[in-house]
C-alpha cells in the first residue's frame, strides 16, 4: 500500500464573501498520515469548524488543493463528493446529531443507507458497533432517554459503521463532563489504535494533550504545536 497521506491540504484558503469578506482559513498547508491522531485547538471563530468542513467535503476551499486519499477533490462533482464522504469519512458532532424519534439502532444504521454497506452486513455491523461502544443493551432506546456520554458513544458507533478511513470530530466532548469525555476519548483512541486516522477539534486542553500531534489555529492560520 502506498504511504500517501490520507489528507493533504495545499495552500487552502476559504473566504466567505461579505460584506465584510471573512477569510476563515488563510493559506493552510496540512498533511495527515494514515493512523494519525491530531487535535486542533484555537479560540472561538478562529476557523476550526471551517477546516473540518473542508476536510469532510462538506465545504470547498475557495483557493488551494485538497487531496483525500490521493484523490484531487476539486475535480469531483457533488454526487462523487457525497459518495466519497459516505465511504471514507465518519463525523462526530458536539451536539451528537441523533434523530430523536429513531431508536439507537436505527440511528446507527442510518450511516449504512447512503454508503453502500452490503445489506446483509448492516445489522450485524450495527450490533457489533453498539456492542463495541458498550451500548448493546440500549439498542431499542430512543436517544432522548440516554445520557450525554451514551449519546456521543452512539454517534461514535454510527461514525465507524461505513468503515471510514478518517474520523472527524468537532468538539465531541464539548457537551460532556470530565469523566464521560474521558470515556469517549478512550473510545476514539481505541479506533485510532485500530488504524483509523483521527482529527479532533477541542477547546479542552486535557483532550488536546492526549493527541500525538496537535495544531493550533488562530485567525485562520495554522501552526504546529
Amino acid at each position: 500500500m502506498s504511504q500517501a497521506p490520507v489528507v493533504e491540504l495545499i495552500d487552502v484558503t476559504r473566504s466567505f464573501p461579505g460584506p465584510p469578506e471573512v477569510q476563515a482559513l488563510k493559506g493552510v498547508n496540512l498533511a495527515i498520515d494514515r493512523g494519525d491522531y491530531l487535535s486542533i485547538v484555537g479560540p472561538s471563530g478562529s476557523g476550526k469548524s471551517t477546516l473540518l468542513n473542508v476536510l469532510g467535503l462538506l465545504d470547498r476551499p475557495t483557493v488551494g488543493e485538497y487531496r483525500l486519499g490521493g484523490v484531487l477533490t476539486a475535480a469531483l462533482d457533488e454526487e462523487a463528493r457525497a459518495g466519497l464522504r459516505a465511504r471514507t469519512i465518519g463525523f462526530v458532532f458536539q451536539a451528537f446529531h441523533l434523530l430523536p424519534r429513531r431508536t439507537v439502532l436505527d440511528n446507527v444504521l442510518l450511516a449504512t443507507l447512503y454508503s453502500g454497506v452490503p445489506r446483509r452486513e448492516r445489522m450485524p455491523r450495527a450490533k457489533a458497533a453498539l456492542d463495541r461502544v458498550g451500548l448493546a443493551h440500549r439498542m431499542d432506546f430512543l436517544p432522548t432517554t440516554l445520557s450525554g456520554g451514551e449519546r456521543q458513544r452512539v454517534a461514535v458507533a454510527r461514525a465507524v459503521m461505513a468503515s471510514p478511513e478518517l474520523i472527524l470530530a468537532d468538539e465531541p466532548t464539548g457537551n460532556l463532563d470530565q469523566q464521560t469525555s474521558g470515556e469517549v476519548m478512550d473510545l476514539f483512541e481505541e479506533l485510532n489504535a485500530d488504524g483509523l486516522s483521527l482529527v479532533v477539534i477541542t477547546h479542552d486542553q486535557h483532550v488536546a494533550d492526549r493527541a500525538r500531534r496537535s495544531i493550533r489555529i488562530a485567525d485562520g492560520r495554522v501552526s504546529e504545536l
Binding site: E78, F91, H97, L110, A111, L113, P118, A128, V160
Partner: protein, 466 residues
C-alpha cells in the same frame, strides 16, 4: 486499507463480544472483506499521480445503494412522527377529494336514475285513470272513462295507440275449460276476467302467441269470443286455438280465438281471460272501464299528460289522473346543474387549500428538520436524495388524503342514494383516479419544499442541530 481497518475493528468487536452469533458474522464478513482489499490495492497503484477519481472506490452493488425501499422506510418515519399534524395536513385533501367523488358519484347516480326512468318501455307508456275520491273509506271514481276514449286520445299528437281495460266482476262464477261442475275436482284458482278494447294489445305492447286478438267487429257485435293470457292458458290446459276450443264462464261458453304474451306494463293480463268490452257489457253488465293505457312517442309525456284529460272530457279534465313520463332531459339537467356548480367548486377550492396545507406543513417540516438534512448530507446523502425524501413524503401525505377522501366520498354517495332510494352508481376507476389525484396534489405541493430542502448547504444545516 479502509476494509482492513474495519476488519480489525470488527475482529476486536467480535472477540470482545460474548455472543457466538457475532463470531459467525465476523468470519463471514472477513471473507468478503479480503475480496475487497484486492480491488482497493489495485486502485491505489494508480492513485499516486493524483488523477484518480472517485471511481477508484469499488462500485456499490445496486441492491446496496439507497433504494426506493429505503426511501419509503425513511419517509414513513418522517411522516409517522406527528400523527396529529398529519391529520390536520391531510384534512384539506380529504375534503377536496371527497367532494369531487361526491360530485361525480351523484352525477353518475342521477344519470343512472334518469336513464332507468327513461328505459324504452317506461318512456313511451302513459296511463289515464279516473280521479278517485274517498267516500266512507272506499275509493270511488269521480268520473268515468268514455267508451270511445281510445279514439279520442289517438287523435292527439304523440299518442300512437290507446286501449281501455276494465275488470269484469264475475261473483261466484268459475272459469273452466269444461262445463261439468265436478265437486270432487280440486279447486283451481280461477283466472281473472278482464275486458279491453281491441287496441289494447298494441297499446301495452302485447304479442299474440297463437290465433288473434279480437277486433272492432267482435266488440260491436258482442260476440262470445275470448283471448287468454299465456299463464291462464296453461292453467286451463289450452295450448292451441286452431281447433276453436271453448272455455266456460259459469255455464256460458266462449270461443278462445287467441293466446297473448308480453305486456310488461300489465303482467296481470297474462293470468287473465280477456273479453271484448262490448261482450262484457252485454253479458256481465260492465258499467265502465277502469283505465286507459296509451303508447306514446318518446318525450311526448308532458304533452299527453296535459291534453289527454281535455280530449276525454273538455268540461272536467281535472277528473282524470294521468301518469306520463316526465321530460327526462329537464330533470337530468336540473339535478346535474345543482351538483356540478356547488360541489365541483367546493371540491376544487378544498383541493387547492389541501395542496397549500401540504406545501406549508412540508415547508415547516423542512425547516424543523434542517439538522437532520445536514446529518444525512454528512452521512453521504446527495441533495437529490434529500429532495426525493421530502417529495415522496408530500406525495404520500397527498395519497393518504386522497384515499381517505375517496372513501368518505363513496360513503356519502351511498348513504344519500340509499336514503333517496336511488341505486348508487360509482365508477371504480373514478374513485381510484380521485385517490391518485390526491397524490398528484401532494406532488405539486412538495415540489417547492423539496427544492428548498435540497438547496440547504450541509454546513449551514449542521449548525442547526437535530
Amino acid at each position: 486499507m479502509t476494509r482492513s481497518i474495519l476488519r480489525r475493528f470488527r475482529r476486536r468487536a467480535a472477540t470482545e463480544g460474548d455472543g457466538s452469533a457475532t463470531d459467525d458474522s465476523a468470519t463471514e464478513r472477513d471473507g468478503s472483506a479480503s475480496e475487497g482489499d484486492g480491488a482497493v490495492t489495485d486502485g491505489d497503484a494508480s492513485v499516486t499521480d493524483g488523477a484518480r477519481d472517485a471511481a477508484a472506490l469499488p462500485a456499490v452493488a445496486r441492491a446496496d445503494r439507497f433504494t426506493n425501499q429505503d426511501l419509503l422506510v425513511e419517509v414513513s418515519h418522517g411522516i409517522g412522527g406527528h400523527t396529529g399534524r398529519l391529520v390536520m395536513t391531510t384534512l384539506g385533501t380529504v375534503l377536496g377529494i371527497a367532494s369531487l367523488v361526491v360530485t361525480i358519484g351523484f352525477a353518475q347516480t342521477a344519470a343512472g336514475q334518469i336513464s332507468r326512468q327513461f328505459d324504452a318501455v317506461a318512456a313511451t307508456q302513459a296511463v289515464v285513470k279516473p280521479e278517485t275520491a274517498n267516500s266512507g273509506g272506499d275509493e270511488v271514481a269521480t268520473s268515468t272513462l268514455p267508451w270511445d276514449s281510445p279514439a279520442r286520445v289517438e287523435r292527439l299528437n304523440g299518442v300512437e295507440r290507446a286501449g281501455l281495460i276494465g275488470e269484469v266482476p264475475i261473483g261466484e262464477l268459475q272459469i273452466t275449460a269444461v262445463p261439468i261442475n265436478d265437486p270432487s275436482a280440486p279447486e283451481v284458482l280461477s283466472p281473472t276476467l278482464l275486458a279491453t278494447s281491441p287496441g289494447l294489445l298494441d297499446a301495452v305492447r302485447g304479442e299474440v302467441r297463437a290465433g288473434r286478438y279480437f277486433d272492432d267487429g267482435h266488440d260491436s257485435r258482442a260476440d262470445r269470443v275470448a283471448v287468454i293470457g299465456v299463464r291462464a292458458a296453461e292453467k286451463l290446459g289450452i295450448n292451441r286455438v286452431d281447433s276453436q276450443p271453448s272455455i266456460f264462464i259459469g255455464e256460458r261458453p266462449y270461443t278462445v280465438i287467441g293466446i297473448v304474451d308480453g305486456m310488461e306494463r300489465r303482467p296481470d293480463l297474462l293470468d287473465s281471460v280477456i273479453l271484448p268490452l262490448g261482450t262484457a257489457r252485454a253479458d256481465f253488465g260492465l258499467r265502465s272501464a277502469s283505465e286507459l293505457q296509451l303508447r306514446i312517442d318518446a318525450g311526448a309525456g308532458p304533452l299527453v299528460a296535459k291534453q289527454a284529460p281535455i280530449a276525454l272530457d273538455p268540461n272536467a279534465p281535472e277528473n282524470f289522473d294521468v301518469q306520463a313520463p316526465r321530460s327526462g332531459s329537464s330533470l337530468q339537467e336540473s339535478v346535474q346543474a345543482d351538483i356540478n356548480v356547488v360541489f365541483l367548486i367546493l371540491g376544487v377550492i378544498a383541493l387547492l387549500a389541501g395542496g397549500l396545507g401540504i406545501a406549508n406543513v412540508t415547508l415547516l417540516s423542512v425547516s424543523e428538520r434542517t439538522g437532520e438534512i445536514g446529518l444525512r448530507r454528512a452521512l453521504g446523502a446527495t441533495s437529490r436524495q434529500i429532495a426525493r425524501q421530502f417529495m415522496v413524503e408530500s406525495v404520500v401525505i397527498g395519497l393518504l388524503g386522497g384515499l381517505i377522501g375517496a372513501a368518505v366520498g363513496v360513503f356519502a354517495v351511498v348513504v344519500v342514494a340509499l336514503v333517496q332510494q336511488w341505486t348508487p352508481i360509482i365508477d371504480l376507476p373514478m374513485v381510484f383516479g380521485a385517490a391518485v389525484l390526491g397524490a398528484v396534489v401532494g406532488l405539486g405541493a412538495g415540489a417547492y419544499p423539496a427544492r428548498k430542502a435540497s438547496r440547504i448547504e450541509p454546513i449551514a444545516a449542521l449548525r442547526a442541530g437535530v
